[in-house]
């Protein structure tokens, strides 16, 4: 029998493919089922946020950040207002700080629930998606009551937050925390012990801490390798030093560890929300800030622990009411860089499992 002729094939995954979670295109070269080379192509969602920001006053930039990582808009709001406040050395009223922590951590829970649902959907499990979204919906409703929007909140302002809580809001959140905690038990029963799921994600997409650091990774992608690095602890900002919580780290840096980190971080975030609800004082939610915000001339960088990693804002100011240059350090964009290395030698089916666990949001990749 003669030799069977084989050749490498070039394949496009996306840009319109449900498991790329937006408009990411991955050009892969496959030899049969095995990936030889992968090249992520980004930029389909590029809106030039940084360019637009140069023509906007600082308060006007806040709604644009909502649209970057649209699964955690509150966190993005926090990044920009925190950066401007630090640059201007502004004080924020206590109540506003607590409200920020509560919404940011709820947003983290919400975003991780989307990860949980969509990741399992990618892997072929339909049911957890529905459960995760049902619970996520409750958080969306909280935010809707708080600021009138389900996804693009535009809630925070430099010097505080826009709205105080409506009647009964804090009590409802208080009831939600134990409920969500019990739901996590359900999710673990439903998913974590599942033999098929474990086979699918254990030992897949592995990398070590040194690689992660060299690739500038942050957030869960870095922590899943066992490297303890969380800006809430390592470079404390806002009032995170007042809360008792643990930094969740993985061990092996594989997809399973990243999944577990997401799950356990939900528990830690709930812990923070619970403590913040107990400590939150009465008082104003907006501090004394000038009508027109002018950041003193100079350069500033400050970062917060976003849902997906270090979310930083670099401001170059000439002392005017608009930034001269505004740069967002976008964790999704940076975390995605390792993908070609992660995919090399893997099967096509694993592509989806690996890409899903990186947990990117294309709005943030492309900005």
């Amino acid at each position: 029998m003669g030799e069977i002729r084989t050749e490498e094939m070039l394949m496009n995954i996306g840009p319109q493919h449900p498991s790329t979670h937006g408009v990411l295109r991955v050009v892969v070269k496959v030899d049969g089922e095995i990936i030889k080379e992968a090249d992520p192509v980004v930029g389909y969602l590029h809106r030039g946020t940084e360019k637009l920001a140069e023509d906007l006053q600082y308060t006007q930039i806040i709604p644009y950040t909502d649209r970057m990582d649209y699964l955690s808009s509150m966190v993005n709001n926090h990044a920009i207002v925190n950066a401007v406040e630090r640059a201007m050395d502004l004080e924020v009223p206590e109540r506003a700080e607590y409200l920020r922590i509560i919404v940011v951590e709820l947003n983290r829970v919400m975003s991780h629930l989307v990860f949980l649902g969509t990741y399992l959907l990618d892997l072929g499990a339909m049911t957890p998606f529905l459960y995760a979204f049902a619970d996520r919906e409750q958080v969306v409703d909280f935010f809707n009551r708080l600021c009138g929007a389900r996804l693009t909140y535009n809630y925070m302002r430099v010097g505080g937050v826009k709205w105080d809580t409506p009647d009964g809001w804090l009590d409802d959140v208080k009831k939600f925390v134990p409920y969500m905690r019990s739901q996590m038990g359900m999710f673990h029963e439903l998913v974590t012990g599942n033999e098929i799921f474990l086979e699918r994600v254990k030992g897949i997409g592995k990398f070590d801490a040194e690689t992660a650091l060299n690739y500038a990774m942050s957030g869960i992608n870095l922590r899943s390798t066992g490297f303890n690095w969380d800006l809430r602890k390592n470079k404390p900002y806002s009032i995170y030093d007042r809360f008792d919580f643990n930094v969740i780290v993985g061990e092996n840096g594989d997809c399973f560890d990243r999944y577990m980190c997401h799950m356990n971080e939900i528990m830690e975030s709930l812990k923070i929300v619970e403590q913040a609800l107990e400590q939150i004082p009465e008082g104003p939610v907006m501090g004394k800030v000038p009508k027109i915000l002018r950041v003193p001339a100079g350069e500033y960088y400050s970062a917060i622990e976003g849902t997906r990693g270090e979310l930083g804002v670099y401001i170059v100011s000439e002392g005017k009411d608009k930034p001269y240059r505004l740069k967002f350090r976008r964790p999704s964009f940076i975390n995605l860089q390792l993908l070609p290395q992660q995919l090399k030698g893997q099967s096509m089916a694993n592509l989806i499992a690996i890409l899903g666990a990186v947990d990117i949001v294309l709005g943030e990749v492309d900005a």
């Binding site: 500038a216 008082g283 104003p284 939610v285 907006m286 501090g287 003193p296 940076i334």
Partner: protein
């Protein structure tokens, strides 16, 4: 609202005043003291290794030690910050480019787990034929950042493994983050 956090002010708009102008206390801010110490330490390390010639400036930006390095020495100095055992700036946090009208500046923020703080390193290039040696071989995490700066600011990075546009299409004309870029409506 019942009370203000600070003493109430008169109604006169004070928008033109710089926000820090109200309080100018005598003692030096401890954060500045600490930052100055760090800056002197890092500057000393660079000068001891390479001499004064590689430096363009060493200054504080708010509380951040910032060292500007001459373009042609960029790679060796960054490598020194990464590999020197007493410094150990191994974690690349941020890379950003800015068009200052006379020149383009690239800014890099590195973190050291040994020293437990950040350093800002900068280098400059003229706007015409803008070019800065690539540090992607040192920090893989700057691969896409350098591509983004190439794309949006038009700075070439010789030594980069894959210098292509990343955000815009390949046939795009111009570099949007340059200050003289005309936005079409």
């Amino acid at each position: 609202m019942s009370e203000e956090t600070k003493a109430p002010e008169t109604k006169a708009p004070e928008a033109t005043k710089a926000p820090e102008a109200e309080a100018a206390p005598e003692p030096v801010d401890p954060r500045i003291e600490q930052a100055t110490e760090r800056l002197e330490f890092l500057r000393g390390k660079v000068v001891a290794k390479f001499g004064e010639d590689v430096l363009e400036a060493a200054e504080l930006k708010q509380f951040q030690p910032t060292i500007t390095i001459k373009n042609q020495h960029w790679v060796e100095v960054v490598e020194f910050f990464k590999t020197e055992a007493t410094l150990g700036f191994v974690y690349p946090e941020l890379m950003a480019g800015t068009d200052y009208k006379d020149y383009i500046e690239v800014y890099v923020l590195l973190h050291s787990f040994t020293l437990d703080y950040d350093v800002s390193l900068k280098t400059r290039t003229p706007r015409e034929n803008a070019s800065i040696p690539s540090i992607t071989p040192l920090f893989a995490g700057f691969n896409w950042e350098e591509r983004e700066i190439f794309d949006l600011l038009g700075v070439n990075f010789p030594g980069h493994p894959d210098m292509r546009r990343i955000m815009l299409e390949d046939h795009w004309v111009g570099h949007p983050l340059r200050k003289d870029y005309v936005v079409e409506n």
